[in-house]
Amino acid sequence: MTANVPEPLLALSGVNTFYGQAQVHFDLSITVARGHIVCLLGGNASGKSTTMKIILGLVKPRSGEVTFDGASLIGLSTPQIVRRGIASVPEARRLFADMSVRENILMGAFVRNDRDAVAQDLDRMLTLFPKLGQRLSQRAGSLSGGEQQMVAMARALMSRPRMIVMDEPTMGLSPLYVDRVLELIRTINQEGVSVFMVEQNASLALEIAHEAYVLQTGKIVLSGPARALKDDPRVRDAYLGGSEAA
């Protein structure tokens, strides 16, 4: 059956992660197909952010394999992984608060050396995120949460990534901004960038995702096409959190 499945862009297989004595991931396996939006759902402290950190090399798994485009990421440093083509929108956005919006966006292109193309991409970001135009020289820390989310997404796109990983991109945003963010994720994806996103808000995420996984205290309890999961009653239980669902 596996013979004619195309090789996924990103694959985690059999990942076990520990913080000290505490195990956070149990035999975790996730794949992201090329060109797809894949969503990881789960309640608080289920290990979602840690999954992102594993992909980015910020946390090392004790065992298991992570491959990107067929090559292992284990043992690579975060900057090396970024240079392979993975950009990130971290939890709580993590902008460089004392740098200007322009500098923040340009920091996204840190791994690139083609200055002219970078300048063009900056212009492209301003058409994609028109509101940022007037804010370019403002301190990033002084923006509203929604605006900061736009900057974080623009910053991630500036590296011309093959894949973007996002940690709760809609967290703390007003409904208006939530819609915008989801729409932008879809646009980005249509331009050929694969997306792996972590979300607590299942109904929103399943709107735009192709596939989804449900994580419960470090174990994948459910996975499949988003359309199928949307109607699955177990999803609602699961993303509401571990203990109540049982």
Partner: protein
Amino acid sequence: MSSWLDYTINGLIVGNVYALVAVGLALIFGVSRLINFAQGSIYLVGAYIGWVAVVQLHTPLPLTIIVVAAAAAVVGLIIERFGLRPLQNSVRIAPLLATIGISFVLDQLVMLTFSPNPRALPSQLPDVRFQVGGGTIGPLDLLIAGVGLTSALLLFVFLRYSKLGWAVRAASQDRDAAMQMGVDVNRVNQAVFGIAAALGGVSGMLVGMYYNQIDTAMSLQATLKGVVAEVVGGAGNVPGAVIGSLLLGLVESYGVAVFGTSYRNLFAFLLLVVVLVLRPNGLFASARQAPPEPLTGTFIAPSRPVRIPRWALLAAAAIFAVLPFFPVSFYVLQTLINAWLLGMLALSLTLVAGTMGQVSLGHAALLAIGAYTSALLSLTLSVPVGLAVIGGGLMSAALGTLLISPSFRLRGHYVSIATLAIGEIVSLVILNWESVTRGPIGISGIPPLSLFGYDLISPSSIYWFSFAVMVVLALLQGRLLGSHLGRSFRAIRDDDIAARAYGLSLNRYKSLAFIFGGFAAGVSGGIAAHLYSYINHETFNTQQSILALTVVILGGLGNVVGAIVGAVALVGLPEVFRIAAEYRILIYGIVLLLLVRFRPQGLLGTI
């Protein structure tokens, strides 16, 4: 009689020199959240490289500056690569301790290479002075101002327009996020250590030329001044460091104008303590800003302490107790007496730094308070020596706790800075309070130890006395650690936020730890005063504070038996191996470095 304008010019020039040191500290703190205690050593190295260049190679001034900057930068890169990078995933206290060890090693290497005697460092500039308003200014002043401004400009351009400069700024605002942009944090660290070292080295050379004198004592002074300026400006804040430095220069200069030269440092440290207490994030940080010290992660290396069976401890104590009955040499007893005195200090520090997590770098001040109190009580008030020593312990407990109490709300590296500063303040007050302490002359003719009217003159009686006192203190401390109080101390060390949420009053517990620790250290100082019969403001210095810290880490932070084992090892082994005195400090520095790198939990394990 100099004019106010002269004092202002002098303050700004000295401030410029401090700025070169402080900016480097700020860059490093920004990226690594580390206070680099080796910065002064690089400054020292810079001064001596400048001396070699000027006096032996006869290089012209511009070339001298370049040579010094380049050589110092190489030293900085080596420190970063081999001293600190291996500690990246270590406990938080590790890099701080490593920079202390590195600074000891560098200072001693300079001393061994060039001898401790001061040397002249001519500036090769014409000795003329120009009239400016009511004051005068010389070519060297202009050079220093020029170097300061040029460095600031270059740094600004680097941070604002170069790719690496952007990486430095990004990493100092959010290290993880910078890595996710592809920034290689190791390269950023390299860059800031290189820059900091180049600036620090040039600063040392300029100071040497300014006073036309260099010596190895410059190192600690420079670190202290740089740290003061940096903290005043706000740790990690580069422009703040420049302003903090100029402010420090002015405060010192005006202080000297009003009170005299021996007060210079007192003003610097008072400024530091005031800023730390009132605005721990510096004068320019917005009040809302979170403290830059990371709040999570283990501070000291966790470990399972080595359990030593009770009978073994009793046997060891018995052997040491009967030792004087055997034909051991006077020299062996003398060495062990020193070990017991250091052991008492180590007991004190292992409680404060290990059990309570307040890594004090000024513990020698507690010795000094105990020593002066006991000496003065017995000399001027004719209090019996035995009581006077206890009085010294009580005074150390009370005064030490009182002095340290303003910094109870500080954490981590800031505690170390505050205790270092308080230690310096104590020594400066002793120097300047002549009516009581006899100032630089010191106190001589201190009566020998005595107990119930019997003088303890023979080496074995002194040995027994100090051993017995140490054992009693150790037993008390052992009881303390096992009690509810000891558990509360450790709870606060491991997570002060949770401890407070649990209803523990941090101030009360920190006070209790310092009262107990202050008593032990004060008694040690008191006994020492009566042994030495002469003490002055330099008898108990920072080197001893650091030695005590090394002992405590060697034994295992918080570990009572470890503190004594560490003291015996560090005092005894150099004697066993007949290591010459001038190499000892070097060895202590290397021991500290090796411990931090390979066995941060010490020989017997942390508790």
